[in-house]
């Protein structure tokens, strides 16, 4: 069918790029089983199962055997806390931004109103400026706002307004909305309005029409948007970095903190677990999609 089969240059480059993409990941997972605590060189797998024995920086024996670092991970309270925070933030911000973003997509696709251009521009901006600019902006806003509020309301100590889980969630919602709106809007492009008219013609008012006809029709787009928002939130570092406070650490922030201090294979174990969970989630999402089509 092609006049010229794919040239060897293309094939070699392709293989090399895939190699480039995967080597770091493979190394990462491999080192999760490193017996060396300092994780500088790969000193071999932990083979013996039994009470923990560490000699000159090498774990020779562990109750979890080769999975020693995974067990350490499970015992780590900070990791548990960070995971809980990450999931809470992701779920709340996804839920909220999906609803708000979907409404925005409908508004922009089907209506004309005075603030339309302004809305479109302000939704588009977070996508074309570096995250750090938005992160700094929000930090500046909250720090000035909180100073003002704490001073005016004479708050101090624990009752003060401060950066924390709340500010992170609110920021995540803000940067997710544009992406949800974009995805849903793309889906709305081919939407046939006449089914809404048909619904109203048959006796359903605007709300019932939206709930029973419009929404089910755009649901694939809405779910795509929600998935995107969830991924963005889960993975976010920059904006979270500038809007978080003590006790509100997320997994990426926690890992970053670790990397600047002591690094044990625990970090690799965390990475490996993360990768596994993602793979499982993607596997199920694909199964679900295949069943829909």
């Amino acid at each position: 069918m092609n006049p010229h089969r794919r040239s060897p240059l293309v094939i070699v480059s392709t293989v090399l790029v895939y190699f480039f993409l995967y080597v770091p990941v493979v190394v990462l997972v491999l080192f999760a089983f490193n017996s060396s605590k300092t994780n500088v060189n790969f000193e071999g797998f932990i083979t013996q199962v039994g009470p923990t024995e560490i000699i000159s920086g090498n774990v020779l024996q562990s109750p979890c055997g080769a999975f020693h670092w995974f067990c350490e991970l499970a015992k780590n309270a900070e990791v548990r806390n960070a995971t809980r925070n990450t999931l809470t933030i992701a779920l709340i911000s996804t839920f909220t931004s999906t609803i708000i973003g979907t409404l925005a997509a409908i508004a922009l696709q089907r209506y004309n109103f005075k603030l339309k251009t302004f809305s479109e521009v302000s939704i588009y901006i977070p996508i074309v400026i570096p995250e750090i600019v938005m992160g700094i902006g929000i930090l500046v806003l909250f720090s000035q706002l909180f100073t003002l509020l704490n001073g005016a309301l004479n708050l101090s100590g624990d009752s003060q307004f401060t950066l924390g889980l709340g500010t992170v969630i609110v920021s995540h919602i803000a940067f997710s909305i544009p992406f949800v709106a974009l995805v849903v809007r793309a889906r709305l492009h081919g939407f046939d309005k006449s089914i809404e008219e048909a619904s109203m013609d048959l006796g359903a008012n605007e709300l019932v029409t939206f709930w029973r006809v419009t929404l089910p029709s755009i649901m694939p787009g809405v779910l795509s948007g929600a998935l995107l928002a969830f991924t963005l939130s889960l993975d976010d570092f920059v904006i979270t970095f500038f809007t978080t406070g003590p006790g509100a650490s997320t997994l990426p922030i926690y890992v970053y903190g670790l990397l600047r201090r002591i690094v044990t294979p625990q970090v690799n174990a965390l990475s490996a677990v993360w990768i596994l969970i993602i793979l499982v989630a993607v596997f199920f999402t694909q199964r679900l999609q295949n069943r829909q089509t």
Binding site: E197, D201, L202
Partner: protein
């Protein structure tokens, strides 16, 4: 209780244009549709027929004027509060619902109990001959089947008035002709008022009790198919419905039933009938239907007998279309092949000298322009 099922009074509808101006989709339209009638709105694209239908349904609100359904003014009532239902051109079936769910939807809105819904859905599916298709999704249906589901979905609600927006437009010719007869039969069986929009004049003539011809946002004429065809009230209607020949001329004599019109290109007069009042000296056109104009071989002593030469013929099987040059103007004439065309005498040859004759009552004189 009004005598009319649907009434449009002085409806005007303006739409804003992208450039910032306004365009009149409907420019003062009034119509009175009788109970149980099959009423069609017919006209070329952009004539305002679909907009008129949508104002009855409630998808558009008139800029001025009022819609009455069963005698009640509709005002700004939304579609779900009006006792009419619509069959859409694109069918607008809910893609995420099955056939049965689509049809049941309207009944669910009326809060009818579930077993009653089931019964009525089955009943209407039988009426449109789709029994057994309950579980199918719209994507699995053919065009004709979807059309019938759309019909069923509206009919199951037993509306007083059914609005149909070019429902057969997407079907192929054969299916369309079948559906035309089915729809007409259905309407007579169920007895509700049908308001039908189409641009296909043959369809309108076949199915309607009365037709409203529209053009440029105005209603030109309302009448039965026979009235519209035989007595169009203006040039546009005469041209739009069926085929016709136009001869341009000037009124010479006006009598009670007859008009004498001088045709400059023929250098002679023609005697015709008038539909509207005419005055002497007025510029007019005379409409001659091809099937009502006859060709004869020899001159006869009748009014409206003109000499001509055969230009060309087109054999259609049931008819032969003959194009005759009268010197200055040519006429299309359709001769029905009542005798076998195997007989060479049945043919007109090219360049054959013939005579064309038409009865005065078949020469309709209309205002020019």
């Amino acid at each position: 209780m009004s005598e009319f099922s649907v009434e449009l009074r002085d409806i005007v509808k303006k739409f804003p244009t992208p450039e910032g101006g306004e365009v009149f989709a409907i420019n003062n339209v009034s119509m009175q549709i009788k109970n149980g009638e099959f009423f069609s709105m017919l006209g070329p694209s952009g004539c305002g027929k679909t907009t008129s239908l949508r104002t009855i349904a409630g998808f558009e609100w008139p800029t001025s004027g009022e819609i009455y359904i069963e005698g009640e003014p509709m005002g700004h009532r939304p579609p779900y509060l009006r006792p009419v239902n619509t069959v859409f051109q694109s069918y607008a079936l809910f893609p995420h619902m099955s056939v049965a769910q689509n049809i049941a939807f309207g009944l669910e809105m009326e809060k009818i109990p579930k077993n009653e819904i089931k019964r009525r859905v089955a009943e209407v599916l039988e009426m449109v001959k789709l029994t057994g298709m309950e579980r199918r999704s719209p994507a699995q249906l053919s065009g004709g089947q979807r059309q019938r589901v759309a019909l069923a979905r509206s009919l199951v609600k037993r509306p007083k008035v059914l609005l149909l927006d070019e429902p057969l437009g997407a079907l192929d010719l054969k299916l369309r002709k079948e559906m035309q007869l089915e729809l007409k039969a259905l309407q007579q069986e169920v007895g509700i008022t049908f308001v039908y929009v189409t641009h296909d004049q043959e369809e309108a003539l076949t199915m309607s009790d009365r037709i409203a011809i529209m053009q440029g946002g105005n209603v030109l004429q309302v009448g039965t198919p026979v009235e519209i065809y035989e007595r169009p009230n203006c040039r546009f209607v005469a041209d739009f419905i069926g085929e016709t020949n136009f001869l341009e001329g000037e009124v010479r004599v006006v009598e009670e039933n007859r008009v004498t019109v001088h045709i400059p290109v023929l250098k002679t007069d023609i005697i015709g009938t008038k539909a509207e009042p005419l005055s002497i000296g007025e510029q007019v056109v005379v409409s001659l239907r091809p099937e009502k104009t006859r060709i004869i071989e020899n001159k006869v002593n009748m009014e409206n007998c003109f000499q001509g030469t055969v230009l060309n013929t087109a054999y259609i099987g049931s008819d032969t279309r003959v194009f005759v040059d009268l010197g200055g103007v040519s006429l299309r004439i359709w001769e029905q092949n009542k005798i076998s065309t195997l007989d060479p005498e049945a043919y007109y040859e090219r360049n054959e000298q013939v005579w064309v004759v038409v009865m005065p009552e078949n020469a309709l004189v209309l205002h020019a322009g």
